[in-house]
Structure formats: C-alpha cells, structure tokens
Symmetry: C2
Subunit: 353 residues, 2 copies
C-alpha cells in the first residue's frame, strides 16, 4: 500500500499567486509560452474536441478536455459578464491533469489566474509569427481583468513597449495603467477606440460583454496591422465588424470551435482559416507582406490549458507551492472499497444527527 | 468584498466516509435514492448529453456534465481494469456542483465512494419498478468493489435478504460475505455463475473486465427474473449473451448513451428500449407480467451524479464534514485580477529558485 495514492497535489489561488511572483510574471509567461508552443507543434498527437458548453441566460459553463496520449487535462471555466455587479469574477476556472495510463489525477489547480496567463501567452506566441516585424506599439481595447496580462506577454515575447489603452469605463484604463506602472511601458490612455488604434501596430481587443458588439469598425483598421481578437469567444459574442475579417488573413486555434465561437462565426462555413500550428510547423504561411492585415481569432483551446497545467506541475517539486488533497479513495485492498468504509468507523466522531 | 467568495466546500475521502457512517449506509442510500428518483421524475428539465470519453489502451477517462437550469454538475471518472495490479482502484471519481446563475462551483467532492453508492441506489430504484413483487433473493456475479453497495441498496429499498455470490476469484466472494456479515443477509457463496442464479429472483452482474464477456448465457436465465446489468458500461464491455437481451424488456437511463455503452450495444440501433424516467412517471409500463424478464441495462448517467452531489451538499451544513478550498480568485475589485496578484507580493516568502 502506497500511503500517498489518495493524494492529489492542489494549487490554490494563494499558491498560484506565490508561484507566479516567485518565478516572476514575465519569466512565468515566457516559460509558459514555450510549453504552449511545444504543444502546438505536436498538435496532431492531441485528442481534440470543441469545448462542451452549457449555456444559460446569464452565461456559460464549459468543460475543455484534451489528451496527448500520455497526459489528460481538462478545465472547468465559466463566463458570466454580470458577475462583476455582485463582486464576482466574469471568468473563473480550475483544471485537472491526469495520467492516461491509470486515470488518476496528478494535479488540481486554480485556473482563473492561470487562464489569464495562458491566454496572454498564446496571444503573444501567435503574434510572434504574425505581427509586423519589430512591432513595438499595441492598442488594448477593453482594460478589464485580462488586459495587463496581455500587455506583459507582448512585452516579454515581442518587446512591445508602447501601449494605447481604451475602455468604456475610464477607471478601468487608469487602473490598468497603474498596475503596469513598474513594467516599463510608455502608456497613453485614449478617449475612444478610434484614438487608441491610431498608429498601433498591434490591436488587442479584449472586452467582456456577451453580445455582438462592434468594438472595431472597418475604417479604423489600417493596412499592415496585427489584430489580436481575444474577447469574441462564444456564440453571439463578437467584437469586430465583419468587413475587417474579409480584409484579413485569419489564423485560428481549432477551426471547428472557432467557427462557432470566434469572430469567424460571422463568416461562411467555408471561409478560409489558417491553423496556427501549421504556421508554427511551416505547413502554412503566416504574414507574407507588410500590408497584410493578420488576425488571430483567439477563442482559447483546451491544449493551451493542458500546456499551462503541465507547466505548473513541473514547478511543484522545486517550489513546494501546493497542498495535498485527499481526493482519491485508497483502500488497503484495491477491490475492497466497502471494507475501507467499514474500517473507517473507528474514526468517526460524534456529529449531531 | 465577501471574504468567502474564494472558498469552495470540499468533501475529502475521509469526510465522505465519515458522512456515510454518520448517516448510516442504509439510510444514506435510501435518502440518496430519493434524490435520484426525484431527478429522474423531472428528466425533461435536464440538459442531457452522453458522457465525453477519452479512450486509451488501458482504460478510459470521462466527463459527465448535466444541468437542471439552476445547478450544473459534472463528474470526472476513470475506468482502468488493470489498476488493481499495482494497488490502484479500477474506478476513481470526483465531481463538482456549480451555480448556473454565476458559474461559481458550490461543491467539490470525492466521488469514488459516492459513485458506488449512487450506482447501487439507482439499481435499486430501477428494481423497485421492475423486479418481481416481493423479490427477496439476489444473485451477485462479480464480487468486487461495488458488490456490497448493491446488496445493501437492494436490502434497504426492496427488502432483499438472501444473496447468492459468485466471482471468478473465490476470495472476492469471501470478502464480500465478510463485509456484509452484520447487515442481516442469508449469504451463499456459489461455485459458478450458473449455481448463483439458481432460484434468484434478481440477478446483478457487476464484473470489471474491459471486454465482451459472457457472464450470463441464455440457458441460465429463467422467466420472471429481473436482471440488474451493471458491469457492461463502455464500448466493447458487455456481460450478457445477446439472446438474453432479445428475450427481455430492456429499461435504460439515456438511450443515446446506453446504445453505445450498455449491453444494448449488441442490439440493432432501432431495438426498443424503455426509458426509466417514463416508467417512474407513468408514461411507459414497467413489469407487466410475472413471466417477463426485465433488464435494467445500467451504464450510469450524469443526472445520477448530479443527484448525489445535491444530496451531499444538503448534508454539509448540518454535519460540518467538509474542508474549505481556496479555489476561486477573489480580487478586492472584480476586474482587477492583475492587481490582486501584484498586491500578493508582500505574502511571498523566500523560495529556492
């Protein structure tokens, strides 16, 4: 009997914050991006499926499973835009990594913070292949919970050092700028989305409303930019005018999911979408000219969470930043689950009944 | 700011055992069965989907989500028959219950023990509607981890008091009999499946091999019995000879899933299957004659786990048998996830890097 078979390492929110800060946010994102890119490059190995969504009036709850044949991972994630009204997060998440060989979970982790980090890291990895060479300035439209992570990822991976912020709530832009103060950006807070995109080589849209909005209209987008469209990520939730899409080369994670959830839901089912993994592995071209508009229609795919869980797991032994969770029944004799229950009787204290 | 928004109640294996023993196994199963039956009766309310399975050489990992519009639940469960060789369980599981309105998890619970309890409770609920009137004797073929739970459920809900046990491993039968010693059954250990079914009014098959086996052949099954077929629960894993199915009235949980996973995978896609919820609500007939063979082709459906999680949640406040898990990020200002991370810096100790 292995006394630890019942235990699953658990990374709480507190330990995730300690982990990120111990490693350093920028280094964490750079290292995480390497795991994400590594998994995109072995894309064909993965068991891929669109996320399983349960929609309701106020939001959605999703499960995002995948496997590379050795490890299995899934994320639970919700999206409820009204949550901020009563002090809750729009998006919360947690995830599990498990051993395909025996089905036992190996890690349970908070993923609210980790999702923001992996989304930003994925955006920056895509931009490495798609953005104009030496792009240094980025507009961020939507300055909510994910905006700072995006900014730092683009700085760490591409050297972006100039930010143009816009949010319908000016306080959000001010807070974003304040949070980023010590990271060495030149930051301009703008009065409109139009103003924010002026001169920006990269445009990141990351708003939260669950509806078809037009954050960017066609006239706002000049030739040669890279658009990092993060906020359009479920049916009925888009941020870009369709005409922008028609002028762009569109790069995506997993087409069957993106056609349902991404900006590309506005397009016909046969509109060409380039798979990001193919660009990374040289099977498809990325940016081919300085005038081309490239668009990363990001919706977030299960492999990115898988990469993130793998990365976190690989930090545990060195840092010790986890708790031990008594999650799995481990009878002294494997087939004797009932006997284990009976023998636990001596441990039961007096509880009001 | 609500200081507890980050917390999700967690029921560990230890607390689940205490909960079951505090309530009493029989009472726990009876109360759980009432929740399961309640949810079957409001079947049409549920968002139903076949489980999402990830198959590998040695087993399967599955996610089983469902929702009644108010609550969302899912279970993670694996099935790896070879696990017992290195001291692990064939099946382990955990589950989550969440609030559909805001997507926040309300409960994380071990479900290895809970799954055995809910499977047994579901079998007994089905048998209440399908077994011969006043059936008192049951054969159990396969005396592994789930067998005692099945026995106790049938005693608690139907008054079954005579058991005929058979397992290819005689030690399993001996252990099962020993574990059940204080529960008031007359128990006979049999030398073959054939011997076990002689005179039994109910036949429970609950073996674990992941292959098409023939635990019951046609000549072994006499008229009038109720077959509770638990072990056949994934593609390629069946226990009954097809001829038995052709002589039986077959009752199932969710036909799209059962036709893939259950004994019914041996039948044509249009073979009639009766939905259990329709029997419970009077929309379909259950047992109609004393000579009829009824067969509950049990595969386990997400609503049963949902019911089990609901039941466990309803016991927490009174018993206090849970831990508080720091699973959800709860920034002082909801949109300021990054700021929360920055402000955590003061709490980070010295960790070898």
């Amino acid at each position: 009997m292995n006394a630890k078979l019942n235990i699953v390492p658990f990374v709480s929110v507190e330990n995730m914050m300690k982990l990120v800060l111990t490693i350093g946010i920028e280094r964490f994102i750079v290292e995480l991006a390497a795991y994400i890119e590594e998994d995109f490059r072995r894309w064909e190995l993965f068991d891929k499926t669109s996320r399983i969504a349960s929609h309701s009036t106020d939001g959605v709850i999703e499960l995002m499973p995948t496997s590379d044949g050795q490890l299995y991972g899934f994320k639970y994630v919700n999206g409820h835009p009204k949550n901020t009204r009563d002090g809750r997060q729009t998006v919360t998440a947690f995830g599990v990594l498990a051993d395909v060989g025996n089905g036992y979970p190996k890690l349970l982790s908070e993923m609210t913070i980790l999702t923001a980090l992996r989304t930003a890291a994925t955006s920056a990895v895509a931009a490495k292949y798609l953005a104009p060479v030496n792009a240094k300035s980025m507009a961020i439209i939507g300055n909510g919970a994910q905006s700072e992570f995006q900014a730092i990822a683009f700085k760490a991976l591409l050297g972006v050092n100039s930010l143009r912020l816009y949010d319908i709530d000016p306080d959000a832009s001010i807070r974003c700028a304040k949070n980023l103060a010590k990271f060495g950006f030149a930051i301009e807070i703008c009065g409109s989305a139009q103003e924010a995109v002026e001169g920006a080589e990269i445009i990141t849209t990351v708003t939260a409303d669950k509806r078809s909005a037009t954050i960017l209209t066609d006239n706002m987008v000049g030739s040669g930019v890279h658009i990092n469209a993060v906020g359009g990520d479920c049916p009925g939730k888009t941020e870009l005018h369709k005409d922008i899409l028609l002028r762009s080369s569109i790069f995506v994670e997993y087409p069957p999911q993106t056609r349902i959830e991404g900006e590309s839901q506005q397009l016909s089912a046969d509109h060409p979408l380039v798979e990001l993994w193919q660009v990374m592995t040289g099977k498809a071209e990325g940016r081919t000219s300085a005038k081309q508009i490239t668009l990363f229609d990001s919706v977030g795919f299960a492999t990115e969470d898988f990469s993130a869980l793998r990365y976190v797991r690989d930090q545990l032994q060195r840092t010790g930043l986890y708790d031990e969770l008594d999650l799995l029944a481990d009878p002294d004799e494997p087939r004797d689950l009932f006997g284990m229950l009976l023998r636990a009787e001596k441990n039961v204290g007096i509880i009001p009944n």
